[in-house]
Symmetry: C2
């Protein structure tokens, strides 16, 4: 395709959705991708830019002049525009902003850049359709035609008073079904959900998902209407959040993808592995401390990987349920009642598993006391692992720390050490070495 | 509040959103919840019903007569109605359906019940606004007023030909901004995304997220318009999918919540724990097989929990990245290139970690050969664990099995056994016992 046949290429790409073109460009060499972007007009390429992979976009933007970037930005909604500018180095940010011709657009983007990206302000767009309560339906429809040109999807029409304070909403449907001489003040719905500009994005996502909202207005503390957040941005938040929790549970500490470089992947993976190494050395030291019992109870040592694995698995299971419950806001009751429940649960699971282990050890090894020691320890280890797995995320959450870091290697490693220590202590008690 | 003061209670609840009322009812005793539901009118309670926790809803429905359920159903959109009916026992389903008075609504619900719940058909609603290409804008607005009364949110207006074949779409915005004597055929947009009725819901979610769609029409193979799916239902799909993958990674095999009963939680947790137990017994048998080297190389045995933990962690890390990449459709290239990359990555990580372990063992134990044997084995174990973690999900995905089951306990357990076996074999080779 890349035989410089511009016309054919343009024609070919015209029929594709920009998200598809972006996908194609992600797979091309940088040079070819740039060629295609310069070929197409900025109306199309600006949308493509927003859909590119972050690292590819960074390279593309490096190869465009500040003026070219400003032209792309001009075509974008304020939220996407601000996101792209925020990715540039500070010095280039100023250069690009100064090249934006539309003064209103420029001011709006500059305002959005002042908000923290993890807050409602960082997610919202300035594009919205608002009407004053004093307007009539007919006048309203006329003006909406003007405003709506800049707004990709209208969703709701927000009703404000003279001071731009949000007082209600209208759906387009209401507007179409109303008589044309009615006043907005008579037909608007005065209950309108809104979020404060400094609200955490995860909280915004929860509110929108709970009330099935497709757009939500963003206001400041005086209820002045500042912008709105649409559901497509919230979907990205939900997905990122889920991906992050999943990676944390798997012991990956930075946001990486399968196609990132080996060095990036190493940086994300090695911290937790190093933790695992330390845990393993801890387990080694414990076992070494009990080595005098080696000659007599060698069999005890052969079960340490089993004990460590069970402690780790139970810990991960119980912490995962708590972490997920906290994320979905459905963990109720006190920490104590939660711990008692987990203790009963772990004791039940532990008893079932210990029974099997007891039978195996007894028939394989023949020594009743050893079998009892190993299976009793297993129950104790599972109960403790369950309690640690339940307590740690609840504790982190109370302290305002993301409990998701508590799952995965962190719990596994501490439970490995705890588990093996408890195992040997109980075995020592029962076998009396 | 429950002093039978109906009026005050009604008044109090009137100002709450139904999602909030549902949350309150979830926390009440069944009897009290039922009391509140019977107190409120079916327009409100039907919405509340859809938001209740599944197990609470089941109990509430058991305590309502078929006629009462039918009244609730009447108020709901077809998709929510069908979902609730699908939860009832088969015999009650017929009873409830026969009590629905509105014949159209009944037929639509019955149609929806025929689709698999994991397909687009199972998710779609029959409520939508459609117009024929031959209508004028003015006529269209008039008719939309009628249709829109049954549709909570309009989103797009779908344009069909005489045979009900989907040929395009109109946004309400386009309709408002068009002149009233224009024909629909002249102003509609002919590119319209749609999904087939038997498409997998996860695929639908990907399409809607990729193209930032807020509603998508559902068609059969002849392109006949059957229904539409809105983004709020898709958000639920995305969340459920993320929750499920997270739980699978943590070794929880059924959809459970922190507040489920101990028996339910045990059922979800014990299968993976039993697998871990078997793995531990496997590790035991391997170690027992090498026990003649015990007296001389006791130190080797003390490091088995470390080896097992590292094998498990690396396996989970690499499988998590692949599982996530597969879910987001960004795993490119052949399985071979992927395995080579993971091998290099694991070798690099392994070499760094092995260096530390080597130093520790050498200075702690003083025996150079043992230190070499343990650290070389660690590298080998990490590489194999990485390869298994990469290969298994890719293989499962190729076979059409959900690769998410490959993370967590499954990978951990198999890597534990593999790891310990490799470790002893290499140590034996180097130390020559």
């Amino acid at each position: 395709i890349e035989t410089q046949d511009d016309k054919a290429l343009k024609h070919l790409l015209k029929d594709y959705h920009y998200a598809d073109v972006a996908e194609i460009l992600n797979d091309l060499e940088l040079e070819d991708a740039l060629y295609v972007i310069k070929l197409l007009d900025s109306e199309t390429t600006s949308d493509i830019l927003t859909e590119l992979d972050e690292d590819i976009r960074e390279k593309v933007l490096q190869n465009l002049s500040a003026k070219e970037i400003a032209e792309e930005i001009q075509e974008l909604d304020t939220d996407d525009a601000a996101d792209i500018i925020a990715e540039l180095p500070i010095s280039r940010q100023h250069e690009v902003i100064s090249k934006i011709e539309d003064e209103d657009h420029k001011a709006e983007i500059q305002e959005l850049l002042t908000y923290d990206e993890d807050t409602a302000g960082g997610l919202m767009a300035k594009e919205l359709v608002k009407v004053y309560e004093t307007w009539t339906v007919a006048g309203c429809l006329r003006r909406i035609r003007g405003q709506a040109e800049n707004v990709t999807r209208v969703h709701s029409v927000y009703v404000v008073d003279k001071k731009n304070k949000l007082i209600g909403r209208l759906s387009l449907k209401d507007l179409i079904t109303a008589k044309s001489d009615q006043k907005i003040a008579d037909i608007y719905i005065s209950t309108v959900d809104s979020v404060y500009v400094d609200e955490d994005v995860e909280e915004v996502a929860k509110i929108m998902a709970k009330y099935d909202l497709e757009a939500i207005p963003v206001v400041d503390r005086n209820k002045t209407l500042l912008g709105r957040i649409t559901i497509d941005d919230i979907i990205d938040v939900i997905k990122e959040e889920a991906d992050k929790d999943y990676q944390l549970a798997a012991g990956i500490s930075q946001d990486v993808e399968a196609d990132d470089s080996i060095l990036q992947l190493t940086r994300a993976r090695i911290p937790w592995l190093a933790l695992g190494l330390l845990g393993g050395i801890g387990a080694f030291l414990i076992m070494e401390g009990f080595q005098e019992s080696f000659s007599k109870y060698a069999v005890l040592f052969f079960f340490t990987p089993l004990i460590a694995a069970m402690a780790g698995n139970v810990g991960v299971q119980s912490s995962a349920i708590i972490v997920q419950g906290l994320a979905n806001d459905d963990v109720k009751g006190s920490i104590n009642s939660r711990l008692i429940k987990e203790m009963l649960l772990a004791a039940l699971n532990g008893a079932i598993l210990a029974l099997f282990l007891f039978l195996f050890v007894f028939f394989y090894n023949g020594d009743l006391l050893t079998a009892i020691a190993i299976s009793v320890s297993l129950v104790a280890v599972i109960v403790v692992a369950g309690l640690v797995g339940t307590f740690v995320p609840l504790f982190l959450d109370k302290r305002g720390i993301d409990p998701a870091i508590a799952t995965g290697p962190f719990i596994t490693t501490s439970n490995d050490i705890f588990g093996i220590l408890i195992y040997f202590l109980i075995a020592k008690l029962i076998l009396g070495f």
